[in-house]
């Protein structure tokens, strides 16, 4: 058993004497006897540190990680390279172990990080205000919905079917509480159908939601979407992949009121889905309805520059039932990774990385659609991900065959879209070279042939 306590038998006796009780049990006498556990918890015995390490390593070895295969799997989280300075900085006690910065005099590091993070996210999204993070992408979409409801009191949300299925599902779950309804705007040739949006819009619509690039990888016409929303007094809310915003126009420059998104692509690990962070940026008009912490700049009594949590009268610890959100702990350490990553990429690097993804994605799309029996699911411009169709085969089975050959070809769209049951979503990062893409093409072609000929698959034994 490993313990992190320090009380020796002598300590315990001295402490009990000071308290004036005879035993530790006496300290628990306010708990009625019937509610005190007679039995020990039914949990395994504790272990030495090295044994815990070995156990956790054994569990890790039962997973196929992005280091174990050449992976083209994305669909919301992506295998980007994480610079070594992030591991070093996030491992520092001074960032890893403090609580939320309630005492600004001894939290200037964390507060300044929040302020810099907000600045970076404002720059990326083209929106003047940012909070210091929310949980992650889909719940950020849900939080944006709540802001819309609080802002205009309307109750209909129109959501593009091109939004991440988890974002749509989360918004639906939360809408039950907010008292709003969610309707889906259909897709046409891979992008949100603006004609359909126009017919669905009305003056009872609180907000319209779109994703950039959308789940199928396609670039959306965000400006046209914003105009349509605003024509009916609805808020235009975009969820964006921040790493594409070096090459794609900022949503804030395309008229959106709120831009949120998943921050994993900014220096955060895959971690089987979390922790990462969600970002939340808006126009100045929405500052007072924003959820979560916001750091602001100020001067101390001696005139030194400093940073504090500000606009706290929005928050739960002050406003209680009238708060703009219930969020308390968010994702400060992950947001730190985000701003360090953006500083490391830098002004030119963000654009260069975007260009590299764009070129390789184009090459991959051309190469894979050159395989017999593989076609593009849509022909929209894409940045880092694209959708294919492989008609007439079981795509999940093709994926599994490719994985047996050491290549994960992507996300079988049938897992989330009934209408694309023959679809495959392929993601590119700077970690996937031309050689990797060529290997994918060869493996995919072989897997499709094997699937068509009914050859037995090795598969995995779970």
């Amino acid at each position: 058993m490993t313990l992190y306590t320090a009380v020796t038998d002598d300590d315990r006796q001295a402490m009990l004497d000071a308290i004036g009780v005879a035993s530790v049990d006496e300290l628990f006498e306010t708990i009625p006897a019937a509610l005190r556990m007679a039995e020990r918890l039914d949990l395994p015995e504790g272990m030495a540190e090295q044994d815990v390490y070995n156990h956790l390593r054994d569990l890790a070895s039962k997973n196929t990680s992005a280091e174990d295969e050449i992976t083209f799997l994305g669909a919301g989280m992506y295998d980007h390279y994480i610079p070594s300075i992030i591991d070093m900085l996030l491992g520092r006690s001074e960032f890893l172990t403090p609580y939320t910065p309630y005492q600004p005099e001894i939290s200037q590091g964390g507060l300044q990080v929040m302020f810099e993070y907000q600045t970076a996210m404002s720059e990326l999204t083209g929106l003047p205000v940012s909070n210091a993070s929310v949980y992650e992408g889909p719940s950020a979409v849900g939080a944006a919905g709540y802001l819309a409801k609080l802002t205009n009191g309307r109750t209909r949300f129109l959501v593009s079917r091109g939004m991440h299925p988890h974002s749509r599902a989360t918004l639906e779950t939360l809408s039950v509480g907010y008292g709003t309804t969610v309707e889906e705007i259909p897709l046409a040739n891979g992008v949100t159908d603006l004609d359909a949006l126009h017919t669905m819009l009305g003056d009872d619509v609180a907000a319209v939601f779109i994703q950039q690039p959308n789940f199928l990888g396609a670039i959306e016409d965000v400006a046209a979407f914003s105009d349509a929303a605003h024509a009916h007094g609805a808020l235009a809310i975009a969820s964006a992949d921040p790493l594409t915003l070096g090459v794609l126009e900022a949503p804030g420059n395309q008229g959106v009121d709120v831009c949120v998104g998943e921050g994993q692509t900014l220096g955060n690990r895959l971690d089987f889905g979390g922790p990462s962070f969600g970002f939340f940026c808006a126009t100045e008009a929405h500052l007072r309805k924003m959820p979560g912490r916001i750091a602001g700049e100020t001067k101390d009594v001696d005139g030194r520059r400093g940073f504090v949590l500000t606009l706290q009268t929005r928050e739960q610890h002050i406003r209680r039932e009238k708060a703009t959100s219930n969020i308390c702990t968010s994702q400060a350490l992950n947001a730190l990774a985000g701003v360090v990553y953006l500083s490391w990429l830098g002004r030119k690097g963000l654009v260069e990385l975007g260009e590299l993804m764009l070129q390789r994605t184009h090459y991959a799309r051309e190469t894979l659609t050159g395989i017999a029996g593989v076609e593009a699911l849509h022909d929209q411009p894409v940045v880092r991900e694209f959708a294919l169709r492989i008609p007439g085969v079981d795509v999940a089975s093709v994926v599994s065959r490719c994985q047996d050959a050491g290549v994960n070809p992507g996300f079988a769209l049938g897992r989330a879209y009934d209408e694309f049951s023959d679809g495959l979503l392929v993601a590119i990062t700077e970690q996937r070279s031309k050689a990797d893409i060529d290997k994918l093409a060869a493996v995919l072609e072989e897997a499709i042939d094997a699937e068509r000929s009914g050859a037995p698959a090795a598969g995995v034994t779970a």
């Binding site: 490993t2 992190y4 009380v7 308290i19 708990i31 949990l43 015995e45 272990m47 390490y53 569990l59 990680s65 992005a66 300075i85 960032f95 172990t97 910065p101 600004p104 005099e105 001894i106 939290s107 200037q108 300044q112 990080v113 929040m114 810099e116 600045t119 720059e123 003047p128 992408g137 989360t170 907010y178 670039i219 016409d221 070096g246 126009e249 971690d271 089987f272 922790p275 700049e297 100020t298 101390d300 009594v301 030194r304 520059r305 504090v308 606009l311 706290q312 610890h317 406003r319 039932e321 219930n326 308390c328 350490l333 500083s343 490391w344 990429l345 830098g346 070129q359 070279s433 050689a435």
Partner: protein, 529 residues
């Protein structure tokens, strides 16, 4: 005591400069891999292409490292000193957890990886669910919520689903007046109205007030036990029976679970839904404000509504051992409230908390809670050994406490002219993080102190001595504490000209530096006092 005119505090001397104001045009850290595919122009139509690149920093790697290391040194942290922040359970963060979480099999596992190729992760999550179920006494666990307040929202939405499924449209949720602010905020987000329940003279729920307010409109009572006053409510069984008597659910805010692990279980007390803060009782580091994780455990009657995905253990039946599935589809989980976030939850936090539970085991968890309560009572006794501390900072309720206790600074304010905030700020000069102040709201000038089990007796003694010293100093000269702190990187913030809170946009800037305005290739400057 004031800072001598010859003293230099390097971090005060060195005025804050953001990364956006450092660097110079053309500097960089990142080098892109070479373009290895044919270059094609015009892949993004002009109307969608970014017209002007975001004004991110331009800095070298050493510059970035020095910047953020310097910032880190302007933080107080748990590894450097005592952090008795009440209700936050600032216990030691074992570094083993960082090591195992970083193993590529965990850290580089994609959340959409085929469950058949994620068996280690699903097994870990399943085992963590079972362990949390055992600690709480409620058998069904969802790891999905991202933090305590997210767990609360899940809990109230579960309550709503439960009642609606019975055709009941209830409208209110009861919360004690001692509750954490996230409770009432959650209630509103879940579409209910808050009704407050009073507190009795012993710091527990006012049962008569509860009886008067418990009716068929009540969906739920949200409680913490021990509560935010550090008091275990001995009437909990009666409270549960009143709440269940009107058909409502009883929700447990797990913020204070650290007092009772292996000693008493919310499920046995009659709670239907519990949330855990893995970043409190189960050592997920706080990270300066997250990440956290807020799993929930529920009783049988709430189970059908749990968020998706749920993890299922399937016995192979052929001697090959079990495998684990992620169940998400409507057909299998028709009554689920749905998804609360992306993917499966904050898995990295699960790895840490699971490692903690396996390190301590059943005996170790109980030892942790016992020691947490021992340490809190010892610190209270040590403080009140000094009659002046007992006089100026009396215990708000009761005689003993659980894992934390609330002192009232009201006599101190009246007789020594220093407020709880002044005492808190002066503690910074003694090298301590202050306790939680002005919470719970019920107690005038409240000071909520939670030492946790991982502190030594010597540390607790030192903290008590610091409080004694500050009170003695205040008797002579209250202005010292009133203007504290003196030794920190910055001192208290100025209020805005019109009395706005510091950092308010009308007092200062918006929420961001304007990069174009403040950097034009100029070198970092160091403003001297």
């Amino acid at each position: 005591m004031t800072v001598s005119e010859f003293a230099r505090i390097p971090m005060q001397d060195d005025e804050a400069t953001t990364i956006f104001e450092k660097g110079a045009p053309g500097r960089r850290a990142f080098v892109a891999p070479p373009l290895d595919v044919p270059q094609v122009d015009g892949l993004i139509p002009d109307k969608f292409a970014r017209a002007a690149a975001p004004r991110l920093p331009e800095a070298s790697e050493p510059e970035i490292v020095r910047h953020y290391v310097r910032l880190s040194r302007r933080n107080f942290d748990l590894d450097s000193g005592f952090y008795p922040l009440g209700s936050c359970t600032m216990k030691h963060n074992p570094r083993l957890h960082e090591r195992v979480t970083a193993l590529p099999g965990h850290a580089k596992l994609h959340p959409f990886q085929d469950p058949a190729r994620s068996q280690g992760a699903l097994e870990l999550m399943y085992n963590l669910e079972r362990a949390l179920g055992e600690v709480s006494g409620l058998p069904h666990v969802s790891l999905q919520p991202s933090a305590g307040s997210h767990g609360e929202l899940a809990g109230v939405l579960l309550t709503r689903a439960y009642h609606e499924d019975r055709g009941q449209h209830r409208t209110t949720v009861l919360t004690p007046d001692t509750s954490h602010g996230t409770n009432p905020a959650t209630v509103t987000m879940a579409g209910y109205k808050v009704v407050k329940v009073g507190t009795n003279a012993d710091g527990g729920v006012d049962v008569e007030d509860l009886k008067a307010k418990a009716d068929e409109n009540v969906a739920c009572l949200m409680l913490t036990n021990p509560n935010t006053l550090g008091v275990f409510d001995p009437n909990i069984e009666e409270i549960a029976s009143i709440v269940h008597g009107v058909g409502a659910t009883l929700y447990y805010d797990g913020a204070n679970l650290n007092a009772i692990m292996g000693i008493s279980r919310p499920g046995d007390m009659g709670f239907d839904i519990v949330h855990f803060n893995l970043h409190k009782s189960f050592t997920q580091p706080h990270g300066g404000g997250g990440p956290g994780s807020g799993p929930i455990a529920v009783s049988d009657r709430i189970e059908p509504y749990l968020p998706v995905p749920v993890i299922e253990r399937v016995e192979s039946g052929n001697g090959a051992g079990p495998h684990f599935d992620l169940i998400e589809d409507d057909a299998r989980r028709p009554k689920s409230i749905g998804k609360l976030r992306g993917f499966q939850g904050n898995y990295g936090c699960f790895v840490r908390s699971y490692a903690y539970i396996r390190s301590l085991g059943a005996e170790g968890l109980k030892d942790a809670s016992e020691t947490a309560v021992l340490n809190a009572n010892y610190l209270l006794a040590k403080l009140h050994q000094d009659p002046e501390v007992a006089q100026y900072l009396p215990l708000a309720f009761g005689k003993l406490c659980m894992h934390e206790f609330v002192l009232s600074g009201a006599p101190m304010k009246k007789e020594l002219q220093i407020k709880t905030l002044d005492l808190a700020k002066r503690l910074l000069d003694y090298g301590y993080h202050p306790p939680t102040v002005y919470f719970p709201l019920l107690v005038d000038e409240a000071l909520l102190i939670e030492p946790t089990e991982t502190e030594t007796r010597e540390t607790l003694d030192g903290f008590a001595e610091a409080i004694v010293a500050i009170l003695k100093e205040a008797k002579d000269d209250p202005s010292i504490a009133q203007a504290a702190p003196y030794s920190t990187p910055v001192r208290p913030a100025r209020r805005g000209r019109r009395g706005e809170e510091p950092g308010h946009p009308s007092a200062a800037r918006l929420t961001a530096v304007r990069p174009g305005a403040c950097r034009s290739g100029r070198r970092p400057t160091t403003a001297r006092r």
